[in-house]
């Protein structure tokens, strides 16, 4: 029996990308192949496009080199074989197609700053073969597959992958199949995910239960403040120089507590504390700026007065008389101009604190007293209503202040801090 015509030619009815090698294979029977010849014709006009001349070979296959054929065409392949006796047989012509592999390009992926991202891509094919379907794949940093989109047929060339973890590297790949069944891939494109971690600090606890469950527990409180004429600086500070911010809801302070403030630009009123301020009566403003001036348009020259307290008209001449029926004799007084009550006897306190700069903070207590803070002469004064309860001197512009209430006693301390 002589060699029979080649059969089972693999190209039959299939589509191949012409830009890659095309392997042609066949089977024979009835003899041993010693020679082979291959002809490929353009099926549209039977013109010969490729010939492998009679070649000595036992191999029942041949690799058509890449780019020998054109894409988007139908071809006919014919295989002729010879045995060692010169007997020859020619195969039936088999039809196959070529179609270029689709080109898939993913749009540039930046560093992703959120847990999800919409990946987009572009599909092109040299012979304008339409896309049949596509799949998006997500890989971890080791290129192990994490998830895929499933087969997509939508013409919207985008897909969202979510639950991406911050500070992780991933790979994205899109594979698209043309209507000719040829798959193109974008390759695995690396990208980084990096976003700000959530600023949540509640105590989230998980523990195993006796009946094979997992118990999750967390405590949470959401508190909102309010403000007026305030604006933020660098997304991390609030400027209430011309406004205010307050917290009056959703929290309770009942027992001892501390309040730690990182604070800056607190107004610092500088003034002189005047002891034994002179009292001057005159028509015009006295020459001594630290004196108390009683204006009298008839007093053309300055006259110093002595402050006297007595039940009756004082003996001391040129005096300013404060009637006090409780006294039995005349008493000379001095005047101190200060923000806090002076110690000592026979001293009259001229309190100027209400004229000075406004409060830095105030705390309204349930018993209707107010705690507030003022700063004068580089010193922070903590007031309880009109009484100074504590003070602390700081000279820079940025501070950490700590205000405490322990057993209903208020105190203040702190430190200059480097901004």
């Amino acid at each position: 029996m002589s060699i029979q015509k080649p059969y089972n030619i693999n190209l039959a009815g299939n589509v191949y990308p012409p830009e890659e090698d095309i392997i042609l294979s066949w089977s024979i029977s009835g003899g041993i192949q010693f020679y082979k010849e291959i002809i490929i014709l353009d099926n549209s006009d039977d013109s010969t496009v490729f010939t492998l001349s009679k070649t000595s070979s036992f191999a029942q296959n041949y690799t058509v080199p890449a780019n020998t054929l054109l894409g988007g065409k139908q071809y006919k392949a014919i295989v002729q074989v010879w045995d060692d006796s010169g007997n020859t047989s020619i195969s039936d012509s088999i039809i196959f197609e070529t179609s270029s592999r689709p080109i898939v390009v993913i749009d540039t992926v930046p560093t992703i700053n959120a847990p999800s991202y919409t990946f987009t891509f572009v599909y092109t094919q040299n012979e304008s073969a339409k896309m049949r379907s596509w799949i998006a794949y997500l890989y971890n940093s080791k290129q192990e597959l994490l998830k895929n989109s499933g087969i997509q047929t939508t013409l919207t060339l985008s897909y969202i992958f979510d639950y991406l973890q911050s500070d992780n590297n991933y790979y994205i790949e899109i594979q698209a199949t043309s209507e000719k069944g040829i798959v193109g891939t974008s390759g695995k494109i690396p990208f980084l995910v990096k976003y700000t971690q959530p600023n949540i600090s509640f105590d989230f606890v998980a523990e195993n239960t006796e009946n094979a469950g997992v118990k999750l527990t967390w405590s949470t409180i959401q508190i909102f403040g309010e403000s007026e004429n305030a604006f933020y600086i660098d997304n991390e500070k609030i400027d209430v120089t011309s406004g205010s911010v307050w917290f009056d809801k959703n929290y309770v302070i009942e027992e001892d507590f501390s309040m730690r403030l990182l604070i800056e630009n607190v107004p610092n009123e500088i003034f002189n504390i005047i002891e034994n301020a002179p009292i001057i009566i005159s028509a015009t403003e006295p020459t001594n700026p630290n004196s108390l001036w009683l204006m009298d348009s008839d007093q053309l020259t300055e006259k110093a007065l002595t402050l006297v307290s007595s039940p009756n008209t004082p003996i001391t001449t040129d005096s300013l008389w404060i009637v006090d029926d409780n006294l039995t004799e005349e008493k000379i007084l001095t005047i101190n101009v200060d923000i806090k009550q002076p110690s000592g006897e026979n001293v009259v306190w001229l309190d100027i604190s209400s004229n000075l700069d406004d409060l830095t903070f105030n705390i309204i207590h349930e018993d209707d007293y107010t705690i507030y803070l003022r700063r004068y002469n580089n010193t922070f004064y903590l007031y309880k209503d009109s009484e100074i309860v504590d003070s602390f001197k700081l000279t820079a512009t940025n501070y950490c202040l700590i205000i405490k209430r322990i057993n209903n006693v208020w105190s203040i301390e702190g430190a200059d801090v480097t901004p």
């Binding site: 949540i200 997992v214 118990k215 949470t220 959401q222 730690r260 700069d357 705390i363």
Partner: protein, 265 residues
């Protein structure tokens, strides 16, 4: 002694932290985080939130709890818990549908408009012994986790495959497989009645006769969704202590769907 209003003005504020602790308070510029004794912590990060959960100024109305296995990306939504903003609440949830192994639980705050806030996660290793039936709809659990003293009771799980053998004209049979692939197994365990064994038997039978899918999970990490059927019990013929005699209960289990499909229903 209650304080009801704190107001600030005439300055620039970086941070306010009010807490119950009154000793060893840090007096440097280091920013602090919420502590167990914190009462109020305002950071002024473009908002006026001062609690222990920041949601960019949006009021939280509920939390969604999710779970995934360590190393995976897809979460399963487990539950929603309503939340009343402005009240310090301790919230709790028990998950029974998890397998043994390393898990990641997530809590996602949801605001009034339904928008997701930022997620908080915790990694946890779920550990339990025995095999447990779970109904996700009412958190019913039934443990097959006890055996007689000295016994080494096995759980044999067989993978059923749609395997077909077809004789051919050649030397060998043709072997083909259908898509069919599920597990089938028997469960049995000793039940030590805490009160009265009939109650526990009845609870199991009542659940099984609903003919609903149940999770069957083991401490070794297996987890299936099964049709559980044919409950049987074995008791001592001569009962000495009506309320204390142990009961041996067995059931048949056949896998009928994937866990993802069950949890997504």
């Amino acid at each position: 002694m209650t304080i009801k209003n704190i107001e600030f003005k005439n300055c620039i504020l970086d941070e306010i932290h009010i807490r119950e602790k009154t000793t060893n308070i840090d007096n440097t510029a280091v920013k602090e985080s919420w502590q167990l004794d914190s009462i109020l912590l305002a950071r002024f990060l473009n908002n006026l939130e001062a609690g222990n959960i920041i949601n960019e100024g949006r009021i939280i109305t509920k939390f969604i709890i999710k779970r995934r296995n360590l190393g995976e990306l897809d979460n399963i939504t487990l539950h929603e818990i309503p939340y009343e903003s402005g009240i310090k609440q301790t919230l709790e949830f028990i998950d029974y549908t998890q397998s043994a192994g390393d898990l990641i639980y997530s809590i996602v705050p949801i605001d009034e408009s339904g928008l997701d806030g930022k997620t908080n996660e915790i990694q946890h290793e779920s550990i339990f012994t025995g095999v447990w039936l779970v109904d996700k709809n009412d958190n019913f659990t039934f443990g097959f986790d006890k055996q007689w003293g000295g016994e080494m009771r096995n759980l044999d799980i067989a993978l059923q495959q749609g395997r077909i053998e077809i004789p051919s004209l050649s030397k060998y049979y043709g072997v083909y497989y259908t898509p069919e692939e599920f597990v089938r197994f028997s469960l049995s365990a000793v039940i030590m009645p805490s009160n009265f064994s009939i109650a526990e038997w009845n609870s199991l039978v009542n659940k099984i006769t609903q003919h609903i899918p149940l999770i069957v999970k083991s401490g070794s990490g297996d987890i299936y969704v099964c049709d559980v059927y044919s409950p049987q019990k074995s008791t001592w013929l001569v009962n000495a202590y009506r309320k204390n005699d142990p009961v041996e209960i067995s059931v048949e289990c056949m896998e009928i769907m994937s866990v993802q499909e069950y949890m997504g229903e």
